[in-house]
Amino acid sequence: MKRVVLLCLFFTLINSVLNAQKTYDELEFPELNEFQVPEVETFTSDNGITFFLLEDSELPLIDLSVIIKTGGVLDPADKEGLASITGTVIRSGGSELHSADSLNVMLENRAASMETGIGFSSGSASMNVLKEDFDELLPVFIDLLKNPSFPEDKIELAKTQTKSSISRRNDDAQQIAFREFRRLIYGKDSVYGRNVEYETVNNITRDDIINFHNNHFVAENMMVGIVGDFEASDMREKLEDAFSSIPSGEETPLNFPELSDESGSSINFANKSDVNQSVVLMGHLGGLRDNPDYAEIQVMNNVLSGGTFSGRLMQVVRTEMGLAYSAFGQYSMNTFYPGIFYAGVMTKSETTAEAIDAIIEQIERLQNEPISEEELQSTKDLILNSAIFEYDSYEEILSQQISNEYRGLSDDAFQQYLNEVRETTIEDVQRVAQEYLNPDQLNILVVGNEEQIGDQLQKYGDVNEVDISIPQPGGTDEESVAGDAVAGREWINRMASAVLPNGPVDGELVYEAQNTVKTPQGEMNLDLVQTINFNTDKLVADVTMPMGQVTMQIEDGEGSMQMGGNEMPMQPAQKQQLMAEYHRHPVYLALNRDQLNVEYLGMEEMEGQELAHIRVEAEPTLHLYLDPETSYPIVRTYRQFDPQAGEQVEVKVVSSDWREADGVLIPYETISYAGGEQNAVTNVSTHSVE
């Protein structure tokens, strides 16, 4: 009996537990707890800095941040990268009072940090410290802002690092896609689309950096925010005192050039043969933050791509079709210049077009069909219910207020936006979709594997091949002194007769040589058998290296390499280099002299003798220095990009010991120099024409 009662009791308990459980649609939520958004104290100092203070005593820390009116938008043409490098070296170079090394030790011993940086439309400087270190470190921070010392070695370091990053910018398909898409939409020469290049970095001087800093790191350009464990009245005094030494200066006008809204659709492609997935981006210019339809457009934006999986793109392309891990989009609206509307996906090569079509369909659907009442409501809920997270920490409250101020938005801009979201209707969403989306003017960019993608893209129009090759710096431009073309012709004819005493040769030139090449690991010896057919432009080189035998071949414009029984295609860069070497070969020059533009520039002293200087028009320009007695091209020079140095260097090739066999003279000793340093010696042992 007792047992039964217990059992009953037990069941009742279980039942009550189960009944207490509610499904999501049975739940009713209480009011959100009262939340008093803390008040930010502001004041402006005599020299023009606006300060924002917020007390937060939860942790014994103080975070100070300065926002500076400047940006990469101000980079002069040909010196792109100036703002960014200035931002880096202010911190990395230290100040006059505190050298970089001592500053680093001082900060890290105290687990403190100071950082500076300049982005596209603003600069920043920050100091994060334990509260007990604040008084000691504030003057150090001010000194860094005011008197950075910009030492040459740290400037060089920043430039080297920037150039290293440039060299890596085509390694990742997503990085390529986002960069090139931006250039596609804004124009690659506009301030919004231009790249930092080796050459523009090389062009930046220490004076440029000093001027950039002096002009922009002035009080009129600064706002200062501080949050942490302090007392506001006390802090105000400290800040006023410390920042008073920063010169007022003049406010920098940030000029954002207008963009012409060029209409028209396009399909663009960049090949990356080591991937099996396409990165697709499509879109057109977006809008400005002050557009009165901002809220309606953002509701539309969230219908298309908001939430985690709620947006239509994720719903359809990922969940329904299983075509992607990630499908995304945004209608971005900047304050200073138009944002971009884009939608994108990463999908396996084979389904590239299928995914593109699915996205376009969703963009068109927003225009053609009203969204459902439920969709409108859940999109509004998403925006409104998550709004609290926009200001759920002291840091966010402070940074929002400063950001509004910097961008010229009112303090209640966010609340206004939320109010307008509440009022948005189904008709509004369709109206802004029709007004602001242009599915027939999409610029589509695909970065992926050409072989695997095949002809999927043709249906979108003529595919533009995007050139992502990294431009090599031009270095100092070749002076184009006008030379004497008639005399040049005469000299090159003499050289041809000297190198080919019996006139043009038929057959293949074969020679054996030993090469000693300097590499970063030391000297490397290569045995080389080279066969050149000057009629068919066929080159074969059998190279014996310490690690084995390699055969390189170029025939009918195709390059290949064989190594240990494996054959693989030659990299385009490598083929290009081999062909360029071939085009500088004395026998090639002799045979093709009639097609070359040559000019005689006078006699010059070189290698201890007077030589005739001939310029040959080629890419890059080739200079020949002929021995006036024998007419042999004793010295050849040209400029070439050196990846070690990250810049153009002069290559000089000095040839001697000319010997004849089968009607062809070639030098039996050749020494090459790059940037003045000897880097290779070639000793020929035998040659013939076969």
């Binding site: 509610k22 011993n109 687990a111 080591d274 719903q315 299983g322 219910n385």
Partner: protein, 506 residues
Amino acid sequence: MRKIGTKLLALFLVVALLPAIADSQDLESFEENVTEFTLDNGLKFIVVERPVAPVVSFVTHVDVGGANEPIGHTGMAHIFEHMAFKGTDYIGTTNWEEEKKVIEELDQVYQQWLQESYRPSPDSVRLEQLWTQFTELQEEAEQYVVNNEYSQIIDRNGGTGMNAGTGADLTIYYYSLPENRMELWFSLESDRFKNPVFREFYKEKEVVREERRSSVESQPLGRLIEEFLAVAYTAHPYGSPVIGWNSDITATTIEDAREFYNTYYVPSNITIAIAGDVDANEVREMAETYFGDLEEGPEAPPVYTKEPEQRGERRFSIQGQSQPILLMGYHTVAQDHPDAKALEILGSIISSGRTSRLYKRLVEDEQLALTVQAFNGYPGTKFETMFLTYALPNQGVEVDTLENAIHEEIQKVKNGELTQQELQRAKTNARANLVRSLDSNSGLAQAFAITDGQQGDWRKVFTDIEELNEVTLDDLQRVANTYFTEDNRTVGTIVNQDNEEVADAN
């Protein structure tokens, strides 16, 4: 969704929280706001009351990761994590009873198809028949599905930062809500772990394959890391990719996933942390209500395999179409080993901050590297792990040159050249990093859930400092000499095939 473990940076974020340190004083003040309790079924809760703003963050830690996967089923933990967003028997369906039947049949047909395809000479007609049947069933199941309803409910209620991560050691699920919607989290979270439905399982595997393409197959670093782990580990499952080998993804069925769930998603293997504007008593009541009936299960089995001692250096290079990358690892110890702390602080001394040895010499002075990082604890920390160095040579610098310079710096550590000042600085920064990590609900919940789930006590977040503070210069020298030996080393590189030496065509 995201995998912890294939991206080094993502990993740093997770790792950085674990070793964070504060004074024991901080611990006391924290303890006042922390409540912990364990339900009768073994499910543990940690609650941090932090009424800064009316929001709350939730983190569910499950003590299962890639390392627990059976052979042939790599990627399982991660696939299950994806399935946890597919809904329940109530959410995401228009008719569960019918849907369930179709899903069961679907899995049977897939298993038959698999079986046939693994035969020495598969019958192609039968394969095609089965596949047709499979795709028809898949479409049939589709008609009952309400797309993404589970995550949409969270979105609509203001859920923020919703995601999940699978690592070699663990799986975590997390998001934040306005505090008045806490009960919604209890309802949704308990439902998905009580009633997993394996909805759209086979379609989701294709999503996972796309994730694999974007994070591993089409990424130079992703490819290098996958190869590196496979070379460095011969026996221990740390050598397998968390996202899984492609053929294993194919081989995984719903039945396998269910078995995995039954084995590892038992209450005693789960730890939940909740931080924000909440009342601990209320949390406890709701925990009893919603999770009290989560069925108890046998303790999850341990990982038996230990990585045997390495008998000689392992080295490989990938000819790639990218600039060079260097990875170098030494096998070390699990986090509960006495040497773990010394290794941790050693990584910090040589590579974090502008004063660190590798940064100072390689990045600043000799400009050999664009970046260099070294730390203990890859690909996990629970089992015997690796001390990993990752470096990108500057333009024109050979990988070998960079590697040699790193060896020279390691040799200095072995010779005992580190100073007391460097050691002290690393300790100070570890403490400050901890303090800084305590200022967000999500950061707190994540640190507490992971530390408690992995090491048995959330207090370790703080008490580890005593151990860390005891590390001496002698310890650093000793661990360097013990673990950083040539025989114990794996080196993997990507070298740029465009930059190979070209013989002069002159």
